[in-house]
């Protein structure tokens, strides 16, 4: 492996301009995340404190092992939805260490509308459990929710991947032998009652914890019976009489301590082995990433400069360097783990698509996890390329990528447009984790291109209708398209809709991927096998 030599001049105008731009984006990201994590109406915080409850992040602090990292997923889920009513989609999910065990955390956030579930809350929880299933991560649920947001019921109840999927996933986790622990800090009502019930172990706090299919208001409406939450489904009833709950706790701190002790009892199966070397930080300065990343979606940059600031020792073994040069492929180590990296330095041509497919095969044969660093606007178009079979070649790359049995990780570094997103392991392709940088854009095509296309379409339409080209109408089409794309292709929109697992500050990418890779190795690699390659 040779050390990547940087060709970037840190005192150039371009570098400084880009640095300033990306640093500001990172600062903006931190501000938004901090607000989503911490800003809550004082009234809601006070209500919790009055009830003797801890805030959800305080619970996390006590639950996780001291001085350990926490990879929080989709911090900014729902940031552009519901008028901003649901920061973080009213829940906290992420990967951390409890009693020395890597676990997936799913915590309700009762400081947001009592922790009630919005449609995106469901999507976030289902995604967290999907990750737990794919990576064989035990799950710790911190339950404290008022139940589903009835106002949104049609978007959170009936369909396949809505609320029921949470309980289906819990059952599948259990069937797969993956442990779950639920800590009941507040009410688990209706569907929510199934979270502790479907967990292998659960702890309930006396006084504030309660589990019932129907809460006191529903019971009164249905049968006329007047009963308190504690009587209906409190700690004593469930730990002594019904057996629904396993461990009583006098306080939240005690519940968390009990939970930690439970996790400590869990068997620890061996992890999938991948080649590892002693860890070395990158030789090139990660802070330079801000100056390398372009400040305009149409501008490019050399992905080797990115790779060199993420991998151990900045060392990279490049594969087939002279062929298919718009796709950089090679091996490197990240926090010691060997990874196979594919990174875009331009659009995909026949040769880069074929090289990509071949390299993906090599990685699979080598039992090496794949890392896709996306900056792709698509495949080359035109008769020359079609004649040469670029559609076939793109299909082969997609087939190889999809049929991989090694874990796949994707970071959307800049552009993620069209079919390029597919070949480079976009959301639909079962990558274990998908992150984006704050500058990235994702769409079927770029805004400008879409606007041009739609204007062209409008022009053709008016020609057919025999109407003159109206500049004002065309301008309006252009402006509306650009505005819609600008709003809906941003990193914040994507993460709001949970099309990814979170936005990362570029300098955090290395640590985030280290945790992601480590978590993924809890599941053994599947059996190799491919579909048909159209040669």
């Amino acid at each position: 492996m040779t050390r990547i030599e940087s060709a970037v001049r840190t005192n150039s105008a371009e570098f400084r301009r880009r640095y300033h731009y990306n640093k500001a984006l990172a600062a903006d990201l931190r501000r938004r995340q901090e607000a989503a994590r911490q800003d809550r109406p004082a009234r809601d915080v006070e209500r919790l404190t009055r009830q003797g409850k801890l805030l959800p992040r305080q619970r996390l602090e006590l639950l996780l092992d001291p001085a350990t990292p926490f990879l929080e997923l989709s911090t900014l889920a729902a940031n552009l939805a519901y008028g901003g009513e649901s920061p973080g989609a009213s829940s906290i999910t992420g990967i951390g260490v409890v009693s020395g065990r890597e676990v997936m955390i799913h915590a309700d956030d009762p400081t947001v509308k009592g922790g009630a579930w919005y449609p995106l809350t469901i999507k976030k929880i289902v995604r967290a459990l999907d990750i737990a299933i794919e990576n064989r991560l035990p799950v710790v649920h911190l339950c404290d929710s008022a139940g589903g947001q009835l106002h949104w019921q049609s978007a959170l109840f009936p369909d396949k991947y809505m609320a029921g999927r949470i309980f289906r996933n819990q059952s599948i986790l259990s069937k797969s032998g993956i442990q779950q622990l639920a800590l009941v800090f507040g009410h688990c009502t209706a569907g929510g009652a199934y979270v502790p019930a479907l967990s292998d172990y659960n702890v309930i706090v006396r006084g504030t914890g309660a589990v019932f299919l129907g809460g006191p208001p529903l019971v009164k409406a249905a049968t006329g019976q007047v009963v308190s939450a504690a009587e209906l489904g409190g700690c004593d009833l469930h730990t002594r009489t019904s057996g629904t709950c396993d461990y009583p706790a006098e306080s939240e701190a005690e519940a968390i301590a009990t939970g930690r002790d439970i996790v400590a009892q869990w068997a620890r199966p061996p992890k999938q082995l991948v080649p590892q070397e002693p860890v070395e930080p990158p030789a090139l300065d990660p802070d330079d990433l801000y100056g390398v990343i372009a400040d305009d979606i149409k501008q490019t940059f050399d992905m080797r400069e990115i790779i060199g600031r993420i991998v151990d020792g900045s060392r990279f073994h490049e594969y087939k360097p002279a062929y298919g040069t718009t796709l950089v492929c090679g091996f490197a180590h990240l926090w010691g783990y060997r990874v196979a990296i594919l990174a875009n330095n331009g659009i995909l041509f026949n040769d880069s698509a074929i090289k990509g497919g071949h390299f993906i095969e090599l990685a699979n044969h080598n039992n090496t996890p794949l890392l896709f660093l996306q900056n792709i606007t698509g495949y080359m178009v035109g008769t020359q390329y079609e004649a040469a079979g670029i559609t076939k070649d793109g299909a082969k790359m997609i087939m190889a990528q999809t049929c991989s049995h090694v874990p796949k990780f994707t970071v959307m570094c800049h552009g993620s447009f069209g079919a390029g997103n597919y070949g480079m392991c976009g959301r639909a392709f079962d990558g274990r984790f998908l992150f984006g940088w704050p500058n990235h854009r994702i769409a079927v095509m770029g805004g400008e291109q879409a606007a041009n296309t739609l204007v062209e379409v409008k022009l053709r339409q008016r020609e057919r209708e025999g109407q003159p080209a109206d500049e004002a109408v065309l301008a309006q089409v252009r402006e509306e398209t650009l505005k819609a794309y600008d709003e809906q292709t941003s990193a914040y929109y994507s993460t709001s809709e949970l099309w990814d697992d979170g936005i990362l500050d570029p300098v955090d990418t290395r640590n985030a991927l280290a945790i992601a890779i480590s978590a993924s190795l809890n599941a053994p690699f599947g059996a190799p096998g491919n579909g048909v390659f159209r040669f």
Binding site: A67, T241, T258
Partner: protein, 166 residues
């Protein structure tokens, strides 16, 4: 220790274990194997580069450490695992099965310690003596000798009891 509460927080693990006490971070290294660290007896430890050796012993909630010819006693500030035992809460003793009272060993108003006998019951030809699980004051004895009771029946309640459902 000596009436003062000390918090030992782990702040790092590489390249050596780092802990923070009273706002100061200390590096800990060169201790014996983990097995040796768990056993009463002599210990060796390097803290902030200086090697120390001493003696240590754990009795219940207390840890005795002898260092530099001086003995220290520390108690765990929070016993997080202390909780209800068995089917009984801190304020009640209930019957696990139906039976008959053989003898009552305490009376209302009596202060009892952990392990003190409360009542002896008999069920299915088996006698059992129920004891106090912690320090408390007996408030009411709800049964008397030779009275029968059902499963879950309240036998003894202690001061500070809240109403709970069986």
């Amino acid at each position: 220790m000596s009436g003062r509460e000390m918090l030992v927080e782990i702040t790092g693990r590489r390249p050596q274990l780092a802990v923070r006490i009273d706002g100061i971070v200390h590096g800990v290294s060169d201790f014996q194997s983990l097995n040796a660290m768990s056993v009463d007896g002599a210990f060796e430890l390097t803290v902030d580069g200086t090697p120390y050796s001493g003696w240590r012993c754990v009795v219940g909630n207390d840890v005795y450490v002898r260092l530099g010819g001086r003995t220290f006693v520390l108690s765990r500030a929070i016993d997080a695992s202390a909780s209800v035992s068995g089917a009984n809460s801190q304020h009640e003793t209930r019957a696990d099965m139906p039976g008959v009272v053989v003898a009552v060993h305490c009376e209302a108003g009596q202060a009892v310690s952990r392990g003190d006998k409360l009542i002896t019951i008999e069920s299915m030809k088996l006698q059992a003596t129920l004891v106090a699980s912690h320090e408390a004051v007996v408030e009411t004895i709800h049964v008397s000798a030779e009275s029968a009771f059902e499963r879950g029946a309240l036998l003894v309640s202690f001061a500070g009891a809240r109403a709970t459902s069986p």
